[in-house]
């Protein structure tokens, strides 16, 4: 019966190797969580920063959950994509972070990674032709314990500003 209201925005991304970025995002919550309102996934516009290296999206997040348990606290998973000058898109990074569990306004920065191509040819192809390895099962971003076996390379950081409002948690003995 407790409620979690998330209001915030995907501010932008910095530290990526490319410009013209956009982001696909989603909120993943456990089975005990019920979406009351808002979209739980979406995609930002493409931002091509002219001045600095930070891409700004300011994409609103406005999701409201009701929950009957703490398990499966919502997680924000992100995919940063790049749209090149030919209009093609390629993946630049996967990342995820937990929604903060304390109420208030939080500035999160979510670091991202991307799978590294196996073999020289793939890397060469990536460099010359674009594209690149992507996860077959993208839910591995937030699930799956053996992610450590992936061979990845670091990508940039996504900045998220998230206001968390909690309600009725105290009623069930959860201090926050």
């Amino acid at each position: 019966m407790a409620e979690v209201h998330l209001i915030g925005q995907l501010l932008g991304a910095s530290g990526f190797s490319q410009r013209r970025l956009f982001c696909k995002w989603g909120l993943h919550a456990g089975g005990a969580w019920k979406l009351l309102g808002g979209l739980r996934e979406g995609q930002t516009q493409v931002d091509d920063p002219q001045a600095d290296d930070m891409a700004h999206w300011c994409h609103p997040l406005d999701v409201h959950f009701a929950t009957k348990g703490l398990q499966g606290w919502p997680r924000l998973h992100l995919q940063v994509w790049h749209q090149d000058s030919l209009g093609r898109t390629e993946l630049l990074g996967y990342g995820f972070c937990h929604v903060p569990s304390s109420p208030g306004c939080h500035a999160l920065s979510c670091v991202t990674w991307r799978p590294r191509g196996s073999g020289v040819t793939q890397r060469l192809r990536h460099r010359l032709l674009g594209g690149g390895p992507q996860l077959r099962a993208p839910d591995l971003i937030y699930a799956g314990a053996d992610r450590f076996r992936l061979r990845t390379e670091a990508a940039g950081t996504v900045h998220v500003e998230l206001g968390v409002l909690l309600r009725h948690f105290g009623r069930y003995g959860v201090q926050c």
């Binding site: 019966m1 019920k34 309102g37 996934e41 009957k68 898109t89 196996s118 690149g132 799956g144």
Partner: protein, 1541 residues
């Protein structure tokens, strides 16, 4: 350093005065400026030098050490303060004390002198070059590395005083250094070049040998490794399990062993088998450190990455769904057709035999089909022929043929043996069939009843005895010959053997003899020889020659046994199920019990997918022949490759118990097995349950016998066959819904992954536990081998039957335990529900503004409506519809509507760039120029120009902002009251109409004197009442049949739920009702005496007609301006059309061009709203791509020229597919009934057809479909649904006209009040006629009152023409489509008509109208309406005049027959005649029937019930006329009667 000597030159200031020293410890931190200040102070204190001479005295002895220390400090300052800090710590304490001392001293001194420097000092300060000391000190410091730290305390005091001295000292050192370099020595003097030192390798080795031990790589003999006197022991040889060790290269092992042996107690390291002790397998199964795996193999499937090319995104709405391939759901179709028991506990003995017989018979049939015997016989014959041939040609062909003969012979022998075996089997089978049949027969006789319908016939096939005998004999002869030959061969072989053996024996004998001779000489060999004697070979026996007679006997015996005797007829058994079963009454009690038991039993099958129950069949009773028919197909939608498919067969007995009979594993079908092509398979099952029954049933696992003495017992288990088929479903586009093969491996439990079981039994075996267990048993897996632990455990679990694995699958374990609240409570929350429903945009809550924070603030009522709707969705409520068929249709339409609305809701969330980004166009120079010109234009205030109103976007609106303005200007030809013409009339003063009183009363007695009467009479006093959204406004009362009001009425507009979005406004269903009434004043003054002093009248209003305009039309049109035909009932009692009055006709005939009354209106919305755009949804299509492109191009061309004209080429059909519009036009047959009605007049037939089409109820799309999206039904769909909007009506009418042989087109145009609409154009006798399909009216092209305002397109069955004339009003255009300058065709010479087939049916089939149903409906409507009228008059008594009602009822069929025309006069007269003493006002209403509500509303809107005269009576009659295909024309006649007293 150049300044250093200068500083040293004047020795006088050597003795510097004690300078007040600031704390030196932080010197390194001092900035340059501070240092300068220091200098300044120093300079200032020069003057004090003389005064302080005496202080200097005792100091010098410390001088040297201090100087050293100071240098050290300086060094620190230059090179960093690490050391300085060290020192600082040390000197901190002391320096503090010293500091305070020195300050004291300074104070004493400065008191004696002035604080300020003299002018000279100042000059010196600025001109003197204070050299930067640090450098020089540094240089000095380099040489003095020894430090004396102990005396650090001294330093602070003396530092400044010693500065000068210090410098000179350093200078001396510097000079020395300089001398070193001045000597002019070169590099060679210092450097010596030497070769690189190198030790020889051999020497190195030599040296190393002293230290190093290199163990040899030679294998160490086992004996060395073992303790003395021990044999190595090998565990494997003793049968114990020995772990396989990890591989270590032998050389490494040897090295290690050699090295260990050198050690003390080295042998401890070796085990019993002489190998190094080691753990079984020290290698961990999983590495503690994650391996950097090679990417080529063994990646967990979920970790796999795929290389994807950079791609253009096509659809933006695929958010995080896995990119690329189709992820399912896949579908597996499991068809379970039935169950056959081959044994069942309830089998009677006869059943057992029958089952056996059936089985044998099946076997027989199978064998017969294979026909092996015949095949082998043929082969034998062929081989024999071949041998014969090669024998014949042997001489000619040479050795190769010779060689092949023995091969043939061997072949013949084998074939013969096989054939004999087959023949034997055949014979045995036949015998056993007969035997079982005999058993059965005897059993039946014994038990005196039959249980099974089985009967065996033995058909005899007669054969020609002689030829048969011949063949038989020949066969035997051939066989005998062959056998003889064979035996001969064998004999020869044996003879050979015998000979060689004999030879050997003889030689041995000889040897024996010679040995015997020797024996005497050599005694010692005796023992050996004795040994030999034991092995003395027996003398070989010569083989016998086989007797040919014997052979023959053998062969004949065999033939007798296994073959049909010659001449004996061939027996062909035939099993039929034609026998009759003894009915239960004639059976003994035990048997009856058995049959009852069978009847009680039923079976069902559960389907398990991956060991989870997914579905089950219905429970079907067991039939008496123990078959169960299910015939069910289960479609399993799955996402992964299935691991196992299992059926569980359950049997239920009676009401109570359900027992699991057996489990059957079904193989997962190959990917190529698709539904439709999959064959039925029978899978056998059996159960080891022990069942004992107390009746005739034999039970299961119970031994019984057929013999009387109980011998030859047999035990049968319940068994049977399930016939089923499993296949992959085929998707919509013919794509098989099979999971990708890559998934197949993922389904296998991880424990099994690395075991080679897969290799041995295949992946499918893994899905079957039993198979796996069997495999494990067969391969004798070592159960102790830890490698197999997982497997063994699983097999144990599977075979023990105790499933430890729970049957359910829980995604989040322990969730239940940690829940805050239960699910029910969670779902009960009203607030959450409200929030969710609002989020889902459910119609009732779509724009619900603020959801209360607390639960208690939400009332339960909120959901009532919603729940009611949900509840009623599937319940067909015939109460509202009076007609079950229409209820079904309404229900269907509701569903279509919902699905379309959902679709649009989704589409609404897709935005284009232009929706989000508002880019205003930069004004070009041209526009600017025009603007400038406008400024210069002369102002003409007398010529006002229409200003464009500002359009308002919908978002910023709220309730009360929008007003609907209705300007009622004037009306024409309003019906006028009729003078009361009744001869019987005795107008009493009190009840006469007020108006009539002074106008008509003089003429009342002389009705023929119309002329005089007419001039004075107020014909009618009409006013207009407009109602919109429950707001009612009326105009003032005007007078006369052509009133002029010119009044503006204002209505507030409220959007549903306060949602002013375009989408919501589009779906506003409200209509503007414009009702025309006549105001009648009645004088109710009771007493004539009061007449002089007061007026007491009652106002009564009588409905004359109405106009309805839907709000959506106003919304889309922005304004409606025009003259509309008032919908006036065909008969208005007490009123007549003006033209009937001869006197009026005289001067009004000009305007009376058209029949009916008209009203001129202007309606608009203030402020103007921007109508929404149509939904951009790309629909599926089956049209040719080229055609669609051409259509797009055509539309673009047309709209670029005439942006206001709509060009329609493609429309959306009911299933949401884009269809080319011409496909809708096709000649169709109108109902024959209508054509037969008036066979000679085509004109009236056409009218009749138009009326028929108009009678189909109207249902606007745009209201129900919430967007400007028309869905076009085909004509048969339209007739089925009996509801549609203009397009459907127009298409149907056009098709009918074409079917009647007229030239007809569909007009896409604009009409009032409908807005964008479709009409029909026909060419009749070189004149164009425009038909309004939804009213059935027709207009000539030059008709001024034609509602069609503009024509955009004409559509025929093979082309589209777009109007490219300057005007679009039908009056001003030419309809000649052959002129390409006026009409732009779609299909032209460049794009010929490709011959599109129509979407319409070949022919329309009409149901005959059901007269009885119509009559019944009529009664029900009447009843409902009467109840309603009484309901609307709660305060008055409602009397029904039956006489009048019956009269009216008689009129109505007449009206229907004449289609409401030209009946008025007779009608009126008739009524007057019958109801002479009543004043009757009333009218018939004509409507197409769809449901009751509109009828009720229509009656209500006329306001008949509002009369509150005390003695009023009512009459109401309903007539329903059925037309084919259930089209109903409904007439309602309502009248109010007031008795004239």
């Amino acid at each position: 350093m150049a300044t250093a000597p200068a500083a040293a030159a004047p020795p006088a200031p050597r003795s510097l005065p004690p300078v007040p020293s600031t704390s030196r410890m932080g010197f390194s931190e001092l900035s340059v400026r501070e240092r300068m200040r220091e200098k300044l102070k120093a300079a200032r204190s020069k003057a004090e030098a003389t005064l302080s001479q005496e202080d200097l005295g005792p100091r010098p002895r410390h001088l040297k050490s201090i100087r050293e220390r100071k240098a050290e400090l300086r060094l620190d300052k230059g090179s960093g303060d690490q050391l300085g800090e060290l020192q600082r710590d040390e000197s901190l304490l002391s320096s503090k004390i010293k500091f305070s001392d020195s300050v004291k001293k300074l104070k004493q001194k400065s008191q004696a002198q002035s604080d300020y420097p003299s002018a000279e000092e100042a000059y010196n300060f600025f001109t003197l070059n204070f050299d930067p000391e640090p450098e020089s000190i540094k240089a000095g410091a380099r040489k003095r590395s020894e430090l004396n730290e102990e005396e650090a305390e001294e330093y602070v005091e003396t530092h400044e005083e010693e500065q000068e001295e210090d410098e000179t000292d350093e200078d001396a050192h510097l000079v020395k250094d300089a001398d070193l370099f001045i000597m002019g020595q070169t590099d060679e003097d210092f450097l010596v070049t030497k070769p690189a030192e190198c030790e020889r390798y051999s020497e190195q080795l030599q040296k190393e040998k002293e230290f190093l031990f290199i163990p040899s790589m030679q294998t160490v003999p086992t004996s060395q490794k073992m303790p003395e006197n021990m044999q190595p022991r090998y565990l494997e040889d003793e049968g114990l399990y020995a772990e396989e060790r990890p591989f270590v290269s032998p050389s490494n092992q040897n090295i290690l062993e050699n090295r260990i042996l050198r050690q003390e107690k080295g042998k401890e390291w070796f085990g019993d088998d002489g190998r190094i002790l080691a753990l079984p397998n020290p290698i961990k199964q999983s590495s503690t450190r994650p391996p950097v795996f090679s990417l080529e193999e063994g990646i967990a499937p979920e970790l796999e990455t795929i290389y994807r090319k950079a791609i253009r995104t096509t659809a933006a709405n695929q958010y995080l769904i896995g990119p690329g391939d189709f992820q399912g759901p896949f579908q597996l179709d499991i068809d379970i057709s039935g169950l056959i028991f081959t044994h069942h506990p309830c089998f009677s003995r006869e059943h057992v035999l029958a089952a056996k017989l059936a089985q044998l018979y099946d076997q027989y049939l199978a064998r017969k089909q294979k026909n092996l015997t015949e095949l082998l016989t043929d082969k034998l014959r062929a081989l024999r022929n071949a041998v014969q041939c090669s024998m014949d040609s042997a001489a000619a062909s040479g050795p190769t043929a010779q060689q092949s003969i023995p091969e043939y012979k061997i072949e013949i022998r084998q074939t013969r043996r096989l054939r004999d075996a087959e023949q034997e089997k055949d014979r045995m089978l036949l015998k056993s069939i007969i035997k079982v049949w005999k058993q059965m027969k005897s059993l039946r006789e014994f038990q005196k009843f039959t249980n099974t319908p089985m009967k065996l016939y033995l058909r005899k096939e007669e054969v020609d005895q002689r030829s048969d005998e011949k063949a038989y004999e020949a066969e035997i002869q051939a066989e005998i010959n062959e056998l003889q030959e064979e035996y001969m061969e064998e004999y020869e072989k044996k003879m050979e053997e015998y000979k060689t053996e004999l030879q050997e024996w003889k030689s041995w004998k000889k040897a024996q003899k010679s040995k015997k001779k020797k024996k005497k000489d050599l005694r010692e060999e005796e023992s050996v020889e004795d040994y030999d004697v034991g092995e003395e070979p027996v003398k070989p026996v010569p083989p016998k020659m086989v007797d040919s007679l014997e052979i023959e006997q053998q062969v004949r015996e065999k033939a007798n046994n296994f073959r049909r005797k010659p001449g004996e007829p061939a027996l062909i058994p035939e099993l039929v199920l034609s026998g009759s079963i003894t009915p239960s009454e004639q059976c003994p009690r035990a048997e009856v019990l058995r049959r009852e038991d069978v009847n009680k039993r039923s079976a069902f099958i559960k389907v398990f997918f991956n060991s989870k129950e997914v579905s089950r069949t219905v429970t079907r009773p067991l039939s008496s022949d123990f078959r169960v028919h299910f015939g069910q197909i289960f479609n399993l939608q799955i996402f992964n490759w299935p691991e196992s498919l299992k059926l569980q067969i359950y049997e239920t007995t009676g009401m109570s118990s359900t027992t699991l009979l057996a489990e059957v594993f079904i193989p997962v079908p190959e990917t190529t097995v698709l539904t439709g092509s999959a064959p039925m398979e029978e899978i056998e099952f059996s159960s080891n349950q022990r069942v004992m029954l107390d009746h005739e049933g034999v039970g299961s696992d119970v031994s019984f016998s057929f013999e009387a003495d109980g011998s030859n017992q047999m035990t049968l288990m319940t068994s049977g066959k399930v016939s089923n088929s499993v296949s992959w479903a085929v998707g919509e586009k013919g794509i098989p819904l099979v999971p990708p093969v890559s998934q197949q491996n993922t389904g296998i439990p991880s424990a099994l992954k690395n075991i080679d079981a897969i290799a041995s039994i295949g992946t499918s075996g893994l899905t079957d536990m039993k198979k796996l267990a069997k495999w494990a048993a067969e391969t004798k897996l070592d159960p102790n081998d830890p490698n197999n632990a997982a497997l063994m455990q699983m097999i144990m679990v599977a075979s023990s039957g105790e499933a430890h694995v729970p049957d359910f699958f829980r995604l989040e374990q322990l969730q239940q335990e940690f829940n805050f609240v239960s699910d029910e409570e969670f779902n009960r929350s009203k607030r959450f529900r409200l929030l969710q429903l609002r989020n889902e945009e459910v119609a009732e809550f779509r724009n619900y503004k603020q959801v209360p924070l607390h639960e208690r603030e939400i009332s339960e009522k909120l959901f009532q409506e919603y729940e009611k709707r949900l509840h009623e969705r599937d319940v067909i409520d015939s109460k509202h519809y009076l007609d079950a068929r229409r209820a079904v249709v309404a229900n269907y339409l509701q569903k279509v509507r919902e699905s379309v609305i959902n679709r649009f809701l989704i589409a609404k969330h897709h935005f284009l760039l232009s929706d989000l980004v508002n880019e205003e166009e930069i004004p070009t120079l041209g526009i600017l120029g025009l603007g400038l010109f406008k400024l210069a234009e002369p102002k003409r205030p007398l010529k006002p120009r229409r200003k464009e109103r500002k359009k308002v976007t919908a978002q910023s609106l709220s309730d009360g902002d929008i007003k609907l303005l209705v300007n009622i200007i004037r009306a024409y030809d309003i019906p006028v009251r009729k003078p009361v013409t009744s001869k019987l009339q005795q107008p009493s003063k009190s009840s006469r109409s007020f108006n009539e009183m002074f106008a008509a009363s003089p003429s009342a007695q002389s009705p023929t004197n119309n002329v005089d009467w007419a001039f004075d009479q107020v014909l009618v006093r009409p006013f207009v009442e407009v109602s919109f959204q429950r707001t009612v406004c009326r105009t003032t009362t005007a007078e006369g049949p052509n009133p002029n009001w010119n009044e503006e009425l204002e209505f507030p507009f409220r959007a549903p739920n306060g949602d002013y979005s375009t989408h919501s406004l589009q779906s506003v269903k409200d209509e503007v009702f414009i009702n025309v009434f006549d105001e009648v004043l009645h004088d109710v003054t009771e007493d004539d005496r009061d007449r002089g002093s007061g007026i007491h009248t009652r106002i009564e209003r009588r409905w004359l007609g109405c106009v309805k305009i839907p709000f959506t039309t106003i919304y889309f049109q922005a304004r409606i301006d025009g003259t509309f035909k008032v919908n006036i009932p065909p008969v208005l009692l007490g009123y007549s059309k003006e033209k009937n009055l001869g006197i009026e006709r005289g001067y009004d005939s000009v305007r009376n061009l058209s029949e009916g009354s008209y009203i001129t209106l202007f309606i608009t919305i203030e402020p103007q709203l921007i109508p929404g755009e149509s939904v951009r949804e790309k629909f599926d299509t089956q049209e040719d791509e080229k055609l669609l492109q051409a259509a797009e191009k055509y539309e673009a061309e047309c709209t670029s020229k005439f942006p206001s004209r709509q060009c329609l080429t493609t429309v959306i059909d009911l299933s949401g597919k884009t269809v080319f519009i011409t496909r809708y036009i096709k000649p169709l047959n109108p109902p024959q009934e209508l054509l037969d009605a008036l066979p000679n007049s085509s004109q009236t037939t056409a009218e009749l057809v138009a009326r028929y089409v108009a009678l189909i109820p109207f249902l606007p799309d745009s209201v129900s479909f919430a967007g400007i999206c028309d869905l076009w039904c085909t004509s048969d769909q339209f007739l089925d649904l009996l509801a549609g909007d203009e397009e459907e009506h127009a298409v149907l009418l056009c098709n009918y006209f074409l079917g009647m042989g007229k030239k007809a087109w569909l007009i896409i145009g604009n009409a009032i009040p409908e807005g964008q609409t479709a009409y029909v154009l026909t060419l009749e006798q070189s004149q164009y006629v425009i038909w309004n399909p939804s009213t059935g009216c027709f207009y000539r092209q030059y008709d001024t009152f034609c509602p069609l305002q503009s024509v955009y397109c004409l559509i025929s069955c093979d082309n589209i023409w777009f109007n490219i004339q300057q005007w679009d009003s039908p009056v001003r255009i030419s309809f000649d489509i052959s002129k390409p300058k006026l009409w732009k065709p779609f299909f032209s010479r460049s794009l010929p008509y490709p011959g599109l087939c129509s979407v319409q049916p070949e022919e329309l089939v009409y149901q005959h109208s059901d007269k009885a149903a119509a009559v019944e409906l009529q009664g029900r409507i009447e009843k409902i309406l009467k109840e309603k009228i009484m309901e609307w008059r709660p305060r008055h008594l409602t009397r029904w005049n039956r006489y009048c009602t019956s009269t009216l009822r008689n009129f109505l069929p007449l009206l229907e027959q004449n289609q409401g025309k030209d009946v008025e006069d007779d009608h009126q007269a008739e009524l007057q005649k019958q109801l002479g003493d009543y004043r009757v006002s009333g009218f018939p209403i004509h409507m197409p029937f769809s449901e009751v509500r509109p009828l009720v509303e229509a009656v209500h809107s006329t306001g008949v019930h509002t009369i509150d005269v005390s003695n009023v009576e009512f009459a109401l009659a309903v007539y329903v006329h059925p037309y084919p295909q259930n089209v109903l024309s409904t007439w309602i006649y309502v009248a109010s009667l007031v008795r004239n007293r």
